[in-house]
Symmetry: C2
DNA sequence: GTCTATACAGCGATAGAC
DNA sequence: GTCTATCGCTGTATAGAC
């Protein structure tokens, strides 16, 4: 390869990097592990599964994440942070409280449509087997959800858009429970229509 | 110990046996494994855990249940059969549809109060890792639930006790989703009060 | 029906070469 | 940053004695 073409290649590569950074191994590990946790559970996959899918060895995984617990913590952290970012987006782009709730449910819908269980819902099932930092991170995720939903519900009530028959926080928890439960039970049959029904009825209750 | 007291003991033991049979090893295995699945998930415990708790060896377990899949199938079968029996009881002892629904929710409540997740809810989360017979048994369990609930809802509507805004089957599925979701999310914090709230609001919706 | 003994694959994890 | 090699442990499973 000539010096010129090498320089060109290098430039092109650099340009590509500046447009969309090639995913670092640490992130690709999270991508694979995330999908495996969401479909098989935290104890339903191994370092070997992740490594073979990425074409690296188990030892390489340990370089990026010391152990499975650390990997789990990183998974929750990234999931939580993305979720928060999406909630901010919804808050900034949706006008009415009802629209925000619909968009919120849409997050769960897209996870379900992808054949996955909510990462944190899955981990909640396995809660007794998680170490303490993981458990705390999990509760924190749901706390974010409840808090965000409750404030949207309060706004909707004040604006007269929504009718709440109970405490907004309790209603928020009921909504998340229903969404998580619907994912849990409809995933085996991949019944997206049924999942949509649940969302529709959940929202109907608030405007009835 | 005298011959008389020994005979007495023996008689008493026999009487006790005739009243309540001493649990066979196969059943004690199911008891332990059931609790482990409900608290840790199907992949969150091992034959070693069950064996050590019962004071027997792993090899002895294999005599009763050839493998973990077979054990899982036996667990679902017993759980399903007990559930069906309880549903029959409720149908025969509860007068109104609303009472039956309350009793139905009470089944879930007692499981939750015992610090457990619903066996089949837990397995639903791990659905992708289960072999085909297990998956079918799982769907069959939920089908029993939906069918029973739907018929109670229909009776309640005809009797004028309940107000349904949608198809009874869809309502039944929504109810189970909500109960399973509430178990899933409140178990980490062992929040029984919150679980009771969910039940109360679920039933309120049907009479509102 | 339960045991000992054993097999063997897979697990998470570490050390050290490259 | 990834590899090979290896560790100790645990996993499910089987054979054969008692």
């Amino acid at each position: 390869m000539s010096v010129e073409s090498w320089a060109l290649r290098r430039t092109l590569t650099y340009v590509q990097v500046s447009v969309k950074a090639p995913e670092a191994t640490a992130d690709r590990i999270l991508d694979v592990a995330e999908r495996l946790v969401q479909t098989r559970g935290f104890h339903g996959f191994s370092y070997g599964d992740v490594a073979s899918e990425l074409g690296i060895t188990r030892a390489a995984l340990h370089y990026h994440y010391r152990g499975k617990d650390e990997l789990g913590a990183a998974l929750i952290e990234r999931y939580h942070s993305r979720f928060r970012a999406r909630l901010d987006e919804i808050a900034s782009e949706s006008a009415s409280a009802l629209e925000r709730l619909r968009d919120y449910a849409g997050i769960y819908r897209s996870v379900f449509a992808d054949g996955r269980m909510c990462l944190c819902g899955m981990l909640a099932a396995e809660f007794d087997t998680l170490d303490e930092p993981l458990g705390r991170a999990l509760l924190s995720f749901f706390d974010t959800n409840y808090g965000w939903l409750a404030s949207v519900l309060d706004e909707g009530r004040e604006a007269g858009d929504l009718q709440l028959t109970a405490d907004s926080r309790a209603t928020a928890e009921l909504m998340v429970s229903t969404l998580e439960g619907a994912m849990l039970l409809n995933r085996p049959s991949s019944n997206l229509g049924r999942f949509d029904d649940v969302i529709a009825r959940l929202l109907d209750q608030l405007v009835a």
